[in-house]
């Protein structure tokens, strides 16, 4: 159904500077990337009216490149199709390529962007767990300059994030990892494609023989934000992996998460599946 556009504007500034200037000076100005989240909310009648500033055509905000420390830089307007197809991503950060495939069908992947996915701040988003597992840093940009923080610090609550007025998500930086990490990404949704996640695990483990040298367990859709399961990680880090240790970690998952009942699933289901996914991942290292 045709959306009601009273009070809405969408402008497409030609340059990054102009976009940042508008975002800084106009209190009703908000960034607009591919539109795959915002247009849905608009059509449902729930998008706040305002002046939306399209970043789509701004070249500096597109592209994937290696940084000078061997990590990977993904500019905010990189589409998930580009992430899915990128040999750089597939090589070093395969969970992100897997996440890209989960973001709707091909048409959605072509226009959905990593910056938009992050800034939409949904705990059910598909790329954030992978970003957490990869110790991603996020770079924010405004007319006042750039600032960086660990991505894990960015989301503070349900749909809340550390984004100052006039700021946009400019890029995501994935630091290089030492060789030897094993990844496991699994999204459990309502169906096999085009599904909003009920539970999403992005996990990585670095083994030293039978010992866990280091581990990352990141879960989505089980709390107001995506979370690192620190208690579960602590239960296995620098320990010798065994069924007992895995059981401890599985139990500890419950202290890291706060799932709810909603339109798609139940807290009980989410808790159980989150635990099962973590256990299954760790068991594969036994």
């Amino acid at each position: 159904m045709i959306p009601v556009l009273d009070g809405f504007d969408l402008i497409a500034p030609a340059s990054l500077d102009e976009a940042l200037r508008i975002l800084a000076s106009d209190r009703d100005a908000r960034p607009f990337a591919g539109g795959t989240d915002l247009m849905v909310v608009l059509e449902a009648g729930h998008l706040p009216p305002g002046r939306y500033v399209s970043l789509w055509a701004i070249r500096e905000l597109h592209g994937i490149a290696r940084d000078d420390r061997g990590g990977l830089v993904l500019n905010a307007l990189t589409s998930f199709s580009e992430i899915r197809e990128s040999p750089l991503v597939a090589d070093a950060f395969p969970m992100l390529a897997l996440a890209a495939r989960e973001i709707g069908g091909i048409a959605t992947q072509n226009r959905a962007t990593i910056g938009g996915n992050i800034a939409n701040a949904s705990p059910a988003a598909d790329s954030p767990p992978a970003l957490l597992a990869y110790d991603a840093e996020i770079e924010l940009l405004s007319i006042r300059g750039r600032r960086r923080m660990p991505y894990g610090d960015f989301h503070t609550g349900y749909k809340k994030m550390r984004l100052e007025p006039g700021e946009i998500v400019a890029r995501v930086v994935l630091p290089s990892r030492q060789v030897g990490w094993r990844d496991g990404y699994r999204k459990v949704g309502t169906r096999r494609a085009q599904a909003i996640s009920k539970v999403c695990l992005a996990a990585s483990v670095l083994m030293d023989g039978d010992d866990v040298a280091d581990v990352r367990l990141a879960l989505g859709s089980i709390a107001p934000t995506v979370v690192r399961c620190r208690a579960a990680e602590d239960a296995v880090r620098r320990r010798t992996l065994s069924e007992e240790v895995i059981a401890n970690a599985t139990r500890a998952v419950l202290t890291d998460i706060a799932p709810i009942d909603d339109i798609r699933s139940t807290a009980q289901y989410r808790s159980a599946v989150a635990q099962n996914l973590v256990a299954a991942f760790l068991r594969d290292s036994l």
Partner: protein, 163 residues
């Protein structure tokens, strides 16, 4: 505030066109108002793919594409596939394999298939399933559609693949 209506210049099915409307209005509505009613609205949420078109060579859901994003774009709608009365290979295969029943998902499905075959010229059935996962069909159960896409792939010469 009310936006000034935009005049968006683009190319549709090879012809220069100007679409007028609110910059945040849906490309879907602009296309249909311009007489290109082959592109359909099934859900308005980007879930069903009935509104899919090709924009600068990539498949997009036109219900989620703001008109402003069509600026200087080359758009292909279902009306642009056949060359006069000569059907595109994908259309011919759909016809022969029974890939269309009620037809409402068909324009988006055909364009999704065209897009898939450009990206993956020799798809397996799994590739076809994944390539069409964003296009919902309530009538067929997808079986005749998979058959049609694999049939089109066999019949397509290189020139057709580039169209």
């Amino acid at each position: 505030m009310t936006a000034t209506p935009a005049r968006i210049e683009c190319t549709i099915n090879g012809e220069p066109r100007a679409l007028e409307g609110h910059p945040m209005s849906r490309l879907l509505d602009a296309l249909r108002a311009a007489g290109l009613t082959g592109t359909k609205e099934g859900c308005g949420e980007g879930e069903c793919g009935a509104c899919a078109v090709l924009l600068d060579g990539t498949l997009v859901n036109s219900c989620l594409t703001p008109l402003a994003h069509a600026s200087r774009a080359a758009i292909t709608t279902i009306e642009g596939l056949a060359i006069r009365e000569q059907l595109h290979a994908v259309q011919q295969s759909f016809l022969e394999c029974g890939g269309a029943q009620c037809g409402i998902c068909t324009p988006g499905m055909v364009l999704a298939a065209v897009d898939l075959l450009r990206r993956v010229p020799n798809p397996t059935e799994d590739d076809v399933r994944a390539g069409l996962a964003g296009n919902l069909c309530r009538c067929t159960g997808y079986m005749r559609i998979f058959a049609a896409v694999l049939d089109a792939c066999r019949r397509m010469p290189a020139t057709n693949a580039e169209r």
